[in-house]
Protein backbone atom coordinates (compact mmCIF):
# COMPACT_ATOMS: atom_id res chain seq x y z
CA UNK A 1 0.00 0.00 0.00
CA UNK A 2 1.36 3.39 -0.98
CA UNK A 3 0.54 6.44 1.10
CA UNK A 4 -0.73 9.53 -0.67
CA UNK A 5 1.60 12.51 -0.31
CA UNK A 6 1.53 16.16 -1.45
CA UNK A 7 4.42 15.57 -3.90
CA UNK A 8 5.28 12.66 -6.14
CA UNK A 9 8.62 12.80 -7.92
CA UNK A 10 9.59 10.83 -11.03
CA UNK A 11 13.27 10.60 -11.86
CA UNK A 12 15.40 8.44 -14.11
CA UNK A 13 17.78 8.49 -17.06
CA UNK A 14 16.57 9.87 -20.39
CA UNK A 15 13.93 8.15 -22.49
CA UNK A 16 12.77 5.64 -19.89
CA UNK A 17 9.24 7.04 -19.78
CA UNK A 18 9.27 9.47 -16.84
CA UNK A 19 6.82 11.74 -18.61
CA UNK A 20 4.37 9.02 -19.68
CA UNK A 21 4.43 7.38 -16.24
CA UNK A 22 3.99 10.64 -14.36
CA UNK A 23 1.17 11.72 -16.71
CA UNK A 24 -0.56 8.37 -16.22
CA UNK A 25 -0.19 8.67 -12.45
CA UNK A 26 -1.76 12.15 -12.63
CA UNK A 27 -4.66 10.64 -14.58
CA UNK A 28 -5.17 7.94 -11.96
CA UNK A 29 -5.14 10.44 -9.08
CA UNK A 30 -7.48 12.84 -10.91
CA UNK A 31 -9.87 10.04 -11.89
CA UNK A 32 -10.21 9.14 -8.22
CA UNK A 33 -11.23 12.69 -7.38
CA UNK A 34 -7.94 14.28 -6.31
CA UNK A 35 -6.94 17.79 -7.31
CA UNK A 36 -3.74 17.26 -9.25
CA UNK A 37 -1.08 19.45 -10.83
CA UNK A 38 1.35 17.77 -13.20
CA UNK A 39 4.57 19.73 -13.79
CA UNK A 40 7.25 18.88 -16.32
CA UNK A 41 10.71 20.38 -15.85
CA UNK A 42 12.21 18.38 -18.69
CA UNK A 43 13.19 20.86 -21.42
CA UNK A 44 12.36 18.15 -24.00
CA UNK A 45 8.70 18.76 -23.05
CA UNK A 46 7.29 15.45 -24.22
CA UNK A 47 4.25 16.22 -22.08
CA UNK A 48 3.20 18.75 -24.67
CA UNK A 49 2.70 15.99 -27.21
CA UNK A 50 0.97 13.64 -24.77
CA UNK A 51 -1.55 16.22 -23.55
CA UNK A 52 -2.08 18.01 -26.85
CA UNK A 53 -0.64 21.27 -25.52
CA UNK A 54 1.11 23.97 -27.55
CA UNK A 55 4.40 25.78 -26.97
CA UNK A 56 2.40 28.89 -26.11
CA UNK A 57 1.03 27.04 -23.06
CA UNK A 58 4.51 26.98 -21.48
CA UNK A 59 4.47 28.71 -18.12
CA UNK A 60 0.65 28.81 -17.84
CA UNK A 61 -1.41 26.24 -15.98
CA UNK A 62 -3.60 24.38 -18.48
CA UNK A 63 -6.60 22.28 -17.47
CA UNK A 64 -6.71 18.91 -19.19
CA UNK A 65 -10.10 17.20 -19.67
CA UNK A 66 -10.37 13.42 -19.46
CA UNK A 67 -11.99 12.94 -22.86
CA UNK A 68 -8.60 12.94 -24.62
CA UNK A 69 -7.67 9.66 -22.89
CA UNK A 70 -9.68 6.80 -24.26
CA UNK A 71 -8.64 4.09 -21.80
CA UNK A 72 -9.61 5.56 -18.49
CA UNK A 73 -10.13 4.11 -15.07
CA UNK A 74 -13.84 4.51 -14.27
CA UNK A 75 -16.20 6.31 -16.64
CA UNK A 76 -16.81 9.54 -14.77
CA UNK A 77 -15.22 12.57 -16.48
CA UNK A 78 -12.39 14.26 -14.57
CA UNK A 79 -9.79 16.94 -15.09
CA UNK A 80 -6.36 17.91 -13.87
CA UNK A 81 -3.95 20.80 -14.31
CA UNK A 82 -0.69 20.61 -16.21
CA UNK A 83 2.24 22.99 -16.41
CA UNK A 84 5.18 23.03 -18.83
CA UNK A 85 7.97 24.79 -16.97
CA UNK A 86 8.99 28.16 -18.42
CA UNK A 87 11.84 29.87 -16.57
CA UNK A 88 10.78 33.19 -18.09
CA UNK A 89 7.27 32.97 -16.62
CA UNK A 90 8.56 31.98 -13.21
CA UNK A 91 10.89 34.97 -13.14
CA UNK A 92 8.15 37.30 -14.39
CA UNK A 93 5.80 36.23 -11.62
CA UNK A 94 8.57 36.74 -9.09
CA UNK A 95 9.11 40.26 -10.44
CA UNK A 96 5.37 40.96 -10.18
CA UNK A 97 5.20 39.83 -6.59
CA UNK A 98 8.28 41.78 -5.61
CA UNK A 99 7.42 44.73 -7.89
CA UNK A 100 10.93 44.48 -9.22
CA UNK A 101 10.60 44.47 -13.03
CA UNK A 102 13.48 46.91 -13.43
CA UNK A 103 15.80 44.42 -11.69
CA UNK A 104 15.37 41.92 -14.49
CA UNK A 105 15.28 44.37 -17.37
CA UNK A 106 18.74 43.31 -18.35
CA UNK A 107 19.96 41.52 -21.45
CA UNK A 108 21.81 38.87 -19.48
CA UNK A 109 18.75 37.91 -17.44
CA UNK A 110 16.54 37.97 -20.52
CA UNK A 111 18.83 35.57 -22.34
CA UNK A 112 19.30 33.24 -19.41
CA UNK A 113 15.62 32.62 -18.83
CA UNK A 114 14.93 31.68 -22.44
CA UNK A 115 13.64 28.08 -22.75
CA UNK A 116 17.12 26.67 -23.34
CA UNK A 117 19.03 29.48 -21.70
CA UNK A 118 20.37 27.32 -18.90
CA UNK A 119 18.45 28.44 -15.81
CA UNK A 120 15.81 25.70 -16.06
CA UNK A 121 16.71 23.72 -12.98
CA UNK A 122 17.02 26.67 -10.64
CA UNK A 123 13.80 28.31 -11.79
CA UNK A 124 12.06 24.93 -11.53
CA UNK A 125 12.78 24.68 -7.81
CA UNK A 126 11.27 28.14 -7.39
CA UNK A 127 8.19 27.24 -9.42
CA UNK A 128 7.50 24.02 -7.51
CA UNK A 129 7.97 25.79 -4.22
CA UNK A 130 5.50 28.48 -5.31
CA UNK A 131 2.88 25.92 -6.37
CA UNK A 132 3.26 24.06 -3.06
CA UNK A 133 2.74 27.29 -1.18
CA UNK A 134 -0.58 27.93 -3.00
CA UNK A 135 -2.04 24.80 -1.38
CA UNK A 136 -4.49 24.42 -4.26
CA UNK A 137 -3.72 20.79 -4.97
CA UNK A 138 -3.94 17.45 -3.18
CA UNK A 139 -0.93 16.27 -5.12
CA UNK A 140 1.79 17.78 -7.31
CA UNK A 141 3.24 15.21 -9.70
CA UNK A 142 6.71 16.19 -10.83
CA UNK A 143 8.39 14.99 -14.02
CA UNK A 144 12.09 15.82 -13.66
CA UNK A 145 14.91 16.32 -16.18
CA UNK A 146 16.88 13.22 -17.20
CA UNK A 147 19.91 11.72 -15.50
CA UNK A 148 22.41 14.04 -13.94
CA UNK A 149 20.21 17.05 -14.70
CA UNK A 150 17.91 15.70 -12.00
CA UNK A 151 20.82 15.94 -9.59
CA UNK A 152 21.36 19.51 -10.88
CA UNK A 153 17.75 20.15 -9.97
CA UNK A 154 18.28 18.80 -6.46
CA UNK A 155 21.48 20.80 -6.10
CA UNK A 156 19.80 24.03 -7.17
CA UNK A 157 19.16 25.23 -3.66
CA UNK A 158 22.82 24.76 -2.80
CA UNK A 159 23.74 26.72 -5.92
CA UNK A 160 21.34 29.48 -4.91
CA UNK A 161 22.91 29.61 -1.49
CA UNK A 162 26.40 29.70 -2.94
CA UNK A 163 25.40 32.42 -5.37
CA UNK A 164 24.22 34.68 -2.59
CA UNK A 165 27.37 33.98 -0.69
CA UNK A 166 28.84 36.76 1.38
CA UNK A 167 31.47 37.36 -1.30
CA UNK A 168 28.83 38.99 -3.44
CA UNK A 169 27.98 41.40 -0.68
CA UNK A 170 31.61 42.42 -0.80
CA UNK A 171 31.43 42.99 -4.54
CA UNK A 172 28.44 45.28 -4.16
CA UNK A 173 30.07 47.24 -1.39
CA UNK A 174 33.14 47.69 -3.52
CA UNK A 175 31.03 48.93 -6.38
CA UNK A 176 29.05 51.21 -4.11
CA UNK A 177 25.74 49.65 -5.19
CA UNK A 178 22.95 49.72 -2.68
CA UNK A 179 21.50 46.31 -2.11
CA UNK A 180 19.94 46.88 1.24
CA UNK A 181 22.33 44.87 3.38
CA UNK A 182 23.57 45.96 6.76
CA UNK A 183 27.07 47.35 6.49
CA UNK A 184 29.82 45.48 8.21
CA UNK A 185 33.02 46.91 9.63
CA UNK A 186 35.64 46.82 6.88
CA UNK A 187 38.19 44.51 8.47
CA UNK A 188 41.48 43.41 7.00
CA UNK A 189 39.81 40.43 5.36
CA UNK A 190 37.27 42.42 3.44
CA UNK A 191 39.94 44.82 2.25
CA UNK A 192 41.87 41.87 0.87
CA UNK A 193 38.74 40.54 -0.77
CA UNK A 194 38.08 43.95 -2.28
CA UNK A 195 41.50 44.25 -3.86
CA UNK A 196 41.00 40.73 -5.22
CA UNK A 197 37.68 41.70 -6.74
CA UNK A 198 39.13 44.74 -8.38
CA UNK A 199 41.74 42.56 -10.05
CA UNK A 200 39.19 39.92 -10.91
CA UNK A 201 36.89 42.39 -12.60
CA UNK A 202 39.74 43.87 -14.61
CA UNK A 203 40.67 40.40 -15.89
CA UNK A 204 37.08 39.59 -16.62
CA UNK A 205 36.70 42.83 -18.52
CA UNK A 206 39.76 42.04 -20.60
CA UNK A 207 38.16 38.80 -21.81
CA UNK A 208 34.48 39.65 -21.98
CA UNK A 209 34.45 43.36 -22.76
CA UNK A 210 33.35 46.15 -20.40
CA UNK A 211 29.72 46.03 -21.46
CA UNK A 212 29.38 42.49 -20.18
CA UNK A 213 30.91 43.29 -16.82
CA UNK A 214 28.43 46.15 -16.38
CA UNK A 215 25.45 44.07 -17.42
CA UNK A 216 26.64 41.18 -15.33
CA UNK A 217 26.91 43.27 -12.22
CA UNK A 218 23.45 44.72 -12.87
CA UNK A 219 22.09 41.19 -13.27
CA UNK A 220 23.64 40.10 -10.00
CA UNK A 221 22.37 43.16 -8.20
CA UNK A 222 18.91 42.43 -9.64
CA UNK A 223 19.05 38.85 -8.47
CA UNK A 224 20.36 39.97 -5.12
CA UNK A 225 17.50 42.41 -4.59
CA UNK A 226 15.13 39.48 -5.07
CA UNK A 227 17.22 37.07 -3.07
CA UNK A 228 14.47 36.40 -0.50
CA UNK A 229 12.35 34.80 -3.20
CA UNK A 230 15.27 32.61 -4.21
CA UNK A 231 16.24 31.73 -0.69
CA UNK A 232 12.67 30.84 0.20
CA UNK A 233 12.89 28.07 -2.38
CA UNK A 234 15.50 26.50 -0.18
CA UNK A 235 12.75 25.51 2.21
CA UNK A 236 11.60 23.15 -0.49
CA UNK A 237 14.82 21.17 -0.23
CA UNK A 238 14.08 20.48 3.42
CA UNK A 239 10.53 19.47 2.55
CA UNK A 240 11.83 16.94 0.05
CA UNK A 241 13.74 15.12 2.73
CA UNK A 242 10.61 14.53 4.79
CA UNK A 243 9.04 11.15 4.29
CA UNK A 244 5.51 12.46 4.82
CA UNK A 245 5.88 15.00 2.02
CA UNK A 246 6.94 13.01 -1.02
CA UNK A 247 6.90 9.67 -2.80
CA UNK A 248 9.85 8.93 -5.09
CA UNK A 249 9.80 6.82 -8.21
CA UNK A 250 12.98 5.77 -9.97
CA UNK A 251 11.91 4.96 -13.51
CA UNK A 252 13.90 2.42 -15.55
CA UNK A 253 13.14 0.88 -18.92
CA UNK A 254 13.60 -2.62 -20.26
CA UNK A 255 14.30 -1.11 -23.67
CA UNK A 256 17.63 0.28 -22.44
CA UNK A 257 20.86 -1.20 -21.15
CA UNK A 258 21.23 1.45 -18.52
CA UNK A 259 21.14 -0.30 -15.16
CA UNK A 260 24.51 1.13 -14.18
CA UNK A 261 23.38 4.71 -14.90
CA UNK A 262 20.17 4.10 -12.95
CA UNK A 263 22.23 2.79 -10.04
CA UNK A 264 24.54 5.81 -10.13
CA UNK A 265 21.56 8.14 -10.24
CA UNK A 266 20.00 6.38 -7.28
CA UNK A 267 23.21 6.57 -5.29
CA UNK A 268 23.54 10.30 -5.97
CA UNK A 269 19.88 11.00 -5.28
CA UNK A 270 19.85 8.98 -2.07
CA UNK A 271 21.56 11.91 -0.37
CA UNK A 272 18.32 13.83 -0.82
CA UNK A 273 15.91 10.91 -0.59
CA UNK A 274 14.10 9.12 2.17
CA UNK A 275 12.81 5.55 2.22
CA UNK A 276 9.51 5.90 0.41
CA UNK A 277 11.12 4.95 -2.90
CA UNK A 278 9.66 2.80 -5.61
CA UNK A 279 11.37 1.20 -8.57
CA UNK A 280 9.28 1.39 -11.74
CA UNK A 281 10.30 -0.98 -14.52
CA UNK A 282 8.77 0.38 -17.69
CA UNK A 283 8.25 -1.27 -21.09
CA UNK A 284 8.22 -4.72 -19.57
CA UNK A 285 7.75 -7.46 -22.16
CA UNK A 286 8.05 -10.62 -20.08
CA UNK A 287 4.29 -11.06 -19.97
CA UNK A 288 4.18 -11.10 -23.78
CA UNK A 289 7.09 -13.49 -24.25
CA UNK A 290 6.48 -15.79 -21.29
CA UNK A 291 4.89 -18.61 -23.24
CA UNK A 292 6.89 -18.22 -26.44
CA UNK A 293 9.51 -20.96 -26.85
CA UNK A 294 10.95 -20.71 -30.36
CA UNK A 295 13.05 -23.57 -31.81
CA UNK A 296 14.93 -21.38 -34.29
CA UNK A 297 18.42 -20.45 -32.98
CA UNK A 298 18.22 -16.79 -33.95
CA UNK A 299 14.77 -16.32 -32.40
CA UNK A 300 15.94 -18.07 -29.24
CA UNK A 301 18.70 -15.50 -29.00
CA UNK A 302 16.26 -12.65 -29.64
CA UNK A 303 13.97 -13.88 -26.86
CA UNK A 304 16.87 -14.42 -24.50
CA UNK A 305 18.40 -10.94 -24.95
CA UNK A 306 15.01 -9.25 -24.60
CA UNK A 307 14.15 -11.05 -21.36
CA UNK A 308 17.67 -10.79 -20.01
CA UNK A 309 17.52 -6.98 -19.98
CA UNK A 310 14.34 -7.12 -17.90
CA UNK A 311 15.78 -9.64 -15.47
CA UNK A 312 18.83 -7.47 -14.90
CA UNK A 313 16.61 -4.52 -13.94
CA UNK A 314 14.64 -6.71 -11.55
CA UNK A 315 17.83 -7.39 -9.61
CA UNK A 316 17.85 -3.70 -8.64
CA UNK A 317 14.76 -4.05 -6.50
CA UNK A 318 16.58 -5.53 -3.52
CA UNK A 319 18.39 -2.20 -3.15
CA UNK A 320 16.07 -0.91 -0.45
CA UNK A 321 13.19 0.11 -2.67
CA UNK A 322 9.87 -0.24 -0.91
CA UNK A 323 8.67 -2.22 -3.89
CA UNK A 324 9.08 -2.49 -7.63
CA UNK A 325 6.33 -2.37 -10.22
CA UNK A 326 6.34 -3.64 -13.80
CA UNK A 327 4.59 -1.53 -16.44
CA UNK A 328 4.05 -3.47 -19.66
CA UNK A 329 5.14 -2.03 -22.99
CA UNK A 330 2.18 -0.42 -24.75
CA UNK A 331 2.08 -0.37 -28.53
CA UNK A 332 -0.77 2.14 -28.85
CA UNK A 333 0.36 4.79 -31.30
CA UNK A 334 -1.60 7.74 -29.95
CA UNK A 335 0.21 9.27 -26.95
CA UNK A 336 -3.08 9.96 -25.12
CA UNK A 337 -4.24 6.35 -25.51
CA UNK A 338 -0.86 5.21 -24.33
CA UNK A 339 -0.96 7.12 -21.01
CA UNK A 340 -4.63 6.17 -20.56
CA UNK A 341 -3.66 2.53 -20.68
CA UNK A 342 -0.80 3.03 -18.22
CA UNK A 343 -3.21 4.77 -15.82
CA UNK A 344 -5.16 1.51 -15.66
CA UNK A 345 -1.92 -0.24 -14.68
CA UNK A 346 -1.44 2.24 -11.84
CA UNK A 347 -4.91 1.47 -10.46
CA UNK A 348 -4.11 -2.26 -10.54
CA UNK A 349 -0.90 -1.82 -8.53
CA UNK A 350 -1.90 1.07 -6.29
CA UNK A 351 -5.67 1.25 -5.92
CA UNK A 352 -6.87 4.52 -4.38
Amino acid sequence: MMREKPIEIFCGTGGVGKTTLSASRAIQLAASGKKVLLITIDPAKRLKEILNMTDEAAGEITTIQSDIFRHQPGNVPYQFDALLMSPEHTLKRMAERNQSFQDFDNRIMKTLVRPYGGMNEIMAIIEVQYQMEQKKYDCIVLDTPPGKHFIDFLLSTQKIKRFFDKTFVEIFKYLGKSVGTQSEAPGMLSILVRTGIKKLLSYLEKVTGAQFVNDFIDAIVGLYRNRDSFLKAMAFQEELQKEEVSNWFLVTSVEQMKQSEARELREEAVRFMHNDNYLLINKSISQYLGDWFPQDEYLKKLRHTMLDKENRLKTMQDQSFRSSILFPEVLETSPAEHVGKLATEWSIHFPI
Binding site: I108, L289, L331
Partner: protein, 266 residues
Protein backbone atom coordinates in the same frame (compact mmCIF):
# COMPACT_ATOMS: atom_id res chain seq x y z
CA UNK B 1 32.84 11.86 -45.39
CA UNK B 2 34.11 15.41 -45.10
CA UNK B 3 32.56 16.42 -41.76
CA UNK B 4 35.13 17.21 -39.08
CA UNK B 5 32.72 17.16 -36.16
CA UNK B 6 30.13 14.38 -36.19
CA UNK B 7 27.45 14.84 -33.54
CA UNK B 8 25.02 12.20 -32.25
CA UNK B 9 22.05 13.47 -30.30
CA UNK B 10 18.41 12.53 -29.69
CA UNK B 11 16.27 11.53 -26.73
CA UNK B 12 17.73 9.55 -23.87
CA UNK B 13 18.11 5.83 -24.44
CA UNK B 14 17.98 5.86 -28.23
CA UNK B 15 21.56 4.57 -28.51
CA UNK B 16 23.62 7.76 -28.93
CA UNK B 17 26.62 6.29 -27.12
CA UNK B 18 26.57 2.97 -28.99
CA UNK B 19 26.25 4.71 -32.36
CA UNK B 20 28.90 7.34 -31.67
CA UNK B 21 31.36 4.71 -30.49
CA UNK B 22 30.56 2.59 -33.56
CA UNK B 23 31.09 5.61 -35.81
CA UNK B 24 34.43 6.36 -34.14
CA UNK B 25 35.53 2.74 -34.41
CA UNK B 26 34.59 2.59 -38.08
CA UNK B 27 36.54 5.79 -38.89
CA UNK B 28 39.53 4.57 -36.92
CA UNK B 29 39.52 1.26 -38.80
CA UNK B 30 39.49 3.10 -42.10
CA UNK B 31 42.72 4.79 -41.01
CA UNK B 32 41.34 8.19 -39.95
CA UNK B 33 42.69 10.32 -37.15
CA UNK B 34 39.58 10.34 -34.95
CA UNK B 35 38.62 10.96 -31.32
CA UNK B 36 35.49 10.17 -29.33
CA UNK B 37 34.23 12.83 -26.93
CA UNK B 38 31.31 12.38 -24.54
CA UNK B 39 30.74 16.01 -23.63
CA UNK B 40 30.89 16.05 -19.85
CA UNK B 41 28.52 13.15 -19.13
CA UNK B 42 28.77 9.81 -17.30
CA UNK B 43 31.97 8.47 -18.92
CA UNK B 44 32.51 4.85 -19.92
CA UNK B 45 36.19 4.86 -20.72
CA UNK B 46 36.58 1.19 -19.79
CA UNK B 47 34.52 0.36 -22.84
CA UNK B 48 36.55 2.73 -25.06
CA UNK B 49 39.79 1.19 -23.92
CA UNK B 50 38.57 -2.38 -24.42
CA UNK B 51 37.60 -1.52 -28.00
CA UNK B 52 40.74 0.59 -28.52
CA UNK B 53 38.66 3.65 -29.32
CA UNK B 54 40.73 6.83 -28.84
CA UNK B 55 38.89 9.37 -26.69
CA UNK B 56 39.27 13.02 -25.78
CA UNK B 57 38.19 13.75 -22.21
CA UNK B 58 37.41 17.32 -21.31
CA UNK B 59 36.53 18.38 -17.84
CA UNK B 60 34.60 21.62 -17.56
CA UNK B 61 36.65 23.43 -14.95
CA UNK B 62 39.99 22.46 -16.51
CA UNK B 63 38.75 23.54 -19.94
CA UNK B 64 37.65 26.85 -18.51
CA UNK B 65 41.02 27.44 -16.85
CA UNK B 66 42.85 26.54 -20.05
CA UNK B 67 40.68 28.92 -22.04
CA UNK B 68 41.17 31.81 -19.64
CA UNK B 69 44.91 31.06 -19.49
CA UNK B 70 45.14 31.41 -23.26
CA UNK B 71 43.34 34.74 -23.18
CA UNK B 72 45.23 36.22 -20.26
CA UNK B 73 48.60 34.68 -21.06
CA UNK B 74 48.95 33.20 -17.59
CA UNK B 75 47.86 29.84 -16.27
CA UNK B 76 48.30 30.99 -12.69
CA UNK B 77 45.98 33.98 -12.99
CA UNK B 78 43.43 31.86 -14.85
CA UNK B 79 43.52 29.23 -12.10
CA UNK B 80 43.05 31.89 -9.47
CA UNK B 81 40.10 33.46 -11.28
CA UNK B 82 38.37 30.12 -11.63
CA UNK B 83 38.78 29.38 -7.93
CA UNK B 84 37.05 32.57 -6.82
CA UNK B 85 33.52 31.93 -5.57
CA UNK B 86 32.45 34.64 -8.00
CA UNK B 87 33.51 32.75 -11.09
CA UNK B 88 32.88 29.21 -9.95
CA UNK B 89 29.31 30.13 -8.95
CA UNK B 90 28.88 31.72 -12.35
CA UNK B 91 29.94 28.53 -14.12
CA UNK B 92 27.65 26.39 -11.99
CA UNK B 93 24.66 28.69 -12.37
CA UNK B 94 25.00 28.77 -16.14
CA UNK B 95 25.38 25.36 -17.74
CA UNK B 96 25.20 27.04 -21.17
CA UNK B 97 28.48 28.81 -20.47
CA UNK B 98 30.10 25.47 -19.69
CA UNK B 99 28.74 24.06 -22.93
CA UNK B 100 30.31 26.74 -25.09
CA UNK B 101 33.64 26.44 -23.27
CA UNK B 102 33.81 22.73 -24.06
CA UNK B 103 32.51 23.23 -27.59
CA UNK B 104 35.13 25.96 -28.11
CA UNK B 105 37.81 23.60 -26.87
CA UNK B 106 36.76 20.91 -29.38
CA UNK B 107 36.71 23.39 -32.26
CA UNK B 108 40.17 24.65 -31.30
CA UNK B 109 41.51 21.11 -31.48
CA UNK B 110 39.93 20.65 -34.90
CA UNK B 111 41.35 23.91 -36.21
CA UNK B 112 44.83 23.12 -34.93
CA UNK B 113 44.90 19.66 -36.51
CA UNK B 114 43.32 19.64 -39.99
CA UNK B 115 43.50 15.83 -40.21
CA UNK B 116 41.45 15.31 -37.03
CA UNK B 117 37.78 14.23 -36.86
CA UNK B 118 35.84 14.32 -33.57
CA UNK B 119 32.75 12.23 -32.91
CA UNK B 120 30.64 13.89 -30.24
CA UNK B 121 28.30 11.85 -28.07
CA UNK B 122 26.15 14.86 -27.28
CA UNK B 123 23.74 15.50 -24.41
CA UNK B 124 20.14 14.46 -25.12
CA UNK B 125 17.61 16.61 -26.99
CA UNK B 126 16.81 19.52 -24.69
CA UNK B 127 20.34 19.93 -23.47
CA UNK B 128 21.74 19.66 -27.00
CA UNK B 129 19.47 22.61 -27.84
CA UNK B 130 21.02 24.56 -24.98
CA UNK B 131 24.46 23.67 -26.35
CA UNK B 132 23.87 25.06 -29.86
CA UNK B 133 21.65 27.94 -28.78
CA UNK B 134 24.23 29.08 -26.25
CA UNK B 135 26.53 30.31 -29.00
CA UNK B 136 23.78 32.78 -30.01
CA UNK B 137 22.76 33.63 -26.45
CA UNK B 138 26.23 34.43 -25.21
CA UNK B 139 27.01 36.49 -28.27
CA UNK B 140 24.07 38.67 -27.27
CA UNK B 141 25.23 38.72 -23.69
CA UNK B 142 28.84 39.69 -24.43
CA UNK B 143 28.16 42.12 -27.26
CA UNK B 144 31.88 42.65 -27.90
CA UNK B 145 35.35 41.64 -26.74
CA UNK B 146 37.52 38.57 -27.03
CA UNK B 147 34.78 36.10 -26.13
CA UNK B 148 32.47 37.66 -28.67
CA UNK B 149 35.10 37.21 -31.38
CA UNK B 150 35.70 33.62 -30.33
CA UNK B 151 31.96 32.94 -30.49
CA UNK B 152 31.92 34.31 -34.02
CA UNK B 153 34.72 31.94 -34.91
CA UNK B 154 32.83 29.05 -33.30
CA UNK B 155 29.69 29.92 -35.21
CA UNK B 156 31.66 30.08 -38.46
CA UNK B 157 32.81 26.56 -37.80
CA UNK B 158 29.44 25.23 -36.71
CA UNK B 159 27.08 26.99 -39.07
CA UNK B 160 28.84 27.52 -42.38
CA UNK B 161 29.93 24.86 -44.82
CA UNK B 162 30.01 21.14 -44.26
CA UNK B 163 32.34 20.84 -41.28
CA UNK B 164 29.63 19.68 -38.88
CA UNK B 165 27.26 16.78 -39.35
CA UNK B 166 24.48 16.19 -36.82
CA UNK B 167 22.70 12.85 -36.47
CA UNK B 168 19.42 12.93 -34.55
CA UNK B 169 18.92 9.34 -33.41
CA UNK B 170 15.36 8.07 -32.99
CA UNK B 171 13.59 4.84 -32.10
CA UNK B 172 11.04 3.41 -34.54
CA UNK B 173 7.86 4.87 -32.99
CA UNK B 174 5.75 7.63 -34.45
CA UNK B 175 5.98 9.88 -31.42
CA UNK B 176 9.78 9.52 -31.31
CA UNK B 177 10.06 10.44 -35.01
CA UNK B 178 7.90 13.54 -34.51
CA UNK B 179 10.16 14.64 -31.69
CA UNK B 180 13.24 13.97 -33.82
CA UNK B 181 11.82 16.09 -36.67
CA UNK B 182 11.07 18.90 -34.23
CA UNK B 183 14.64 18.74 -32.95
CA UNK B 184 15.98 18.70 -36.52
CA UNK B 185 14.09 21.89 -37.42
CA UNK B 186 15.33 23.59 -34.27
CA UNK B 187 18.93 22.70 -35.18
CA UNK B 188 18.47 23.98 -38.73
CA UNK B 189 17.02 27.13 -37.20
CA UNK B 190 20.18 27.68 -35.14
CA UNK B 191 22.14 27.60 -38.40
CA UNK B 192 23.42 24.02 -38.63
CA UNK B 193 23.61 22.92 -42.26
CA UNK B 194 23.75 19.14 -42.21
CA UNK B 195 21.18 17.51 -39.88
CA UNK B 196 20.00 13.94 -40.46
CA UNK B 197 17.52 11.68 -38.73
CA UNK B 198 18.75 8.13 -38.20
CA UNK B 199 16.62 5.29 -36.84
CA UNK B 200 17.97 2.77 -34.36
CA UNK B 201 16.78 -0.54 -32.87
CA UNK B 202 14.50 -1.39 -35.75
CA UNK B 203 13.10 -4.94 -35.97
CA UNK B 204 12.40 -4.92 -39.74
CA UNK B 205 16.03 -3.91 -40.41
CA UNK B 206 17.48 -7.04 -38.78
CA UNK B 207 19.20 -8.95 -41.61
CA UNK B 208 18.32 -12.29 -39.96
CA UNK B 209 14.62 -11.39 -39.80
CA UNK B 210 13.45 -13.46 -42.77
CA UNK B 211 9.73 -13.79 -43.62
CA UNK B 212 9.85 -17.34 -42.16
CA UNK B 213 11.06 -15.98 -38.84
CA UNK B 214 8.58 -13.09 -38.88
CA UNK B 215 5.83 -15.71 -39.17
CA UNK B 216 7.12 -17.37 -35.98
CA UNK B 217 7.02 -14.20 -33.84
CA UNK B 218 4.56 -14.13 -30.92
CA UNK B 219 1.58 -11.76 -31.21
CA UNK B 220 3.22 -8.85 -29.38
CA UNK B 221 6.46 -8.89 -31.40
CA UNK B 222 4.58 -9.45 -34.62
CA UNK B 223 2.45 -6.36 -33.95
CA UNK B 224 5.58 -4.38 -33.08
CA UNK B 225 7.20 -5.57 -36.33
CA UNK B 226 4.14 -4.48 -38.38
CA UNK B 227 3.98 -1.06 -36.70
CA UNK B 228 7.69 -0.45 -37.28
CA UNK B 229 7.46 -1.53 -40.94
CA UNK B 230 4.61 0.94 -41.51
CA UNK B 231 6.57 3.71 -39.81
CA UNK B 232 9.69 3.05 -41.89
CA UNK B 233 7.54 3.16 -45.03
CA UNK B 234 5.71 6.37 -44.19
CA UNK B 235 8.79 8.28 -42.99
CA UNK B 236 11.30 6.96 -45.53
CA UNK B 237 11.92 10.37 -47.06
CA UNK B 238 12.89 11.79 -43.65
CA UNK B 239 15.08 8.97 -42.37
CA UNK B 240 18.60 8.85 -43.76
CA UNK B 241 19.83 5.65 -42.18
CA UNK B 242 18.36 2.70 -40.25
CA UNK B 243 20.19 0.49 -37.76
CA UNK B 244 18.81 -2.88 -36.63
CA UNK B 245 17.80 -4.16 -33.21
CA UNK B 246 20.79 -6.25 -32.13
CA UNK B 247 20.83 -9.43 -30.07
CA UNK B 248 24.36 -9.23 -28.67
CA UNK B 249 25.23 -10.07 -25.09
CA UNK B 250 27.35 -6.97 -24.56
CA UNK B 251 27.55 -3.36 -25.66
CA UNK B 252 31.09 -3.97 -26.98
CA UNK B 253 29.78 -6.60 -29.40
CA UNK B 254 26.98 -4.30 -30.54
CA UNK B 255 29.44 -1.48 -31.20
CA UNK B 256 31.69 -3.73 -33.27
CA UNK B 257 28.71 -4.93 -35.27
CA UNK B 258 27.28 -1.44 -35.85
CA UNK B 259 30.70 -0.17 -36.95
CA UNK B 260 30.28 -2.39 -40.04
CA UNK B 261 27.15 -0.44 -40.99
CA UNK B 262 29.09 2.83 -40.91
CA UNK B 263 31.95 1.32 -42.88
CA UNK B 264 29.61 0.39 -45.68
CA UNK B 265 30.36 -3.33 -45.39
CA UNK B 266 26.73 -3.95 -44.35
Amino acid sequence: MSARLIVFTGKGGVGKTTLSLAQTLSLKESGKNVLYNNFDQFPNYGLCDRLRIPHLDLELEESAVEYMAQKLGSHMIAGWIMKTPFFSSLLHMLPGLGHIIIMGHLINRLEKDPTLTIVMDSPSSGHAMTMFESTHNFKKIFGSGMLFNDLNRMQDFLFSGDKVSVNVVTLPTEMAIHEASELKSAFLGFGLQDVKIVMNESLPSIPEMTPERVALLPEFLSKKYQIESQIIESFKSEITNTFPHLVNESMAESITELAKYFGGSK
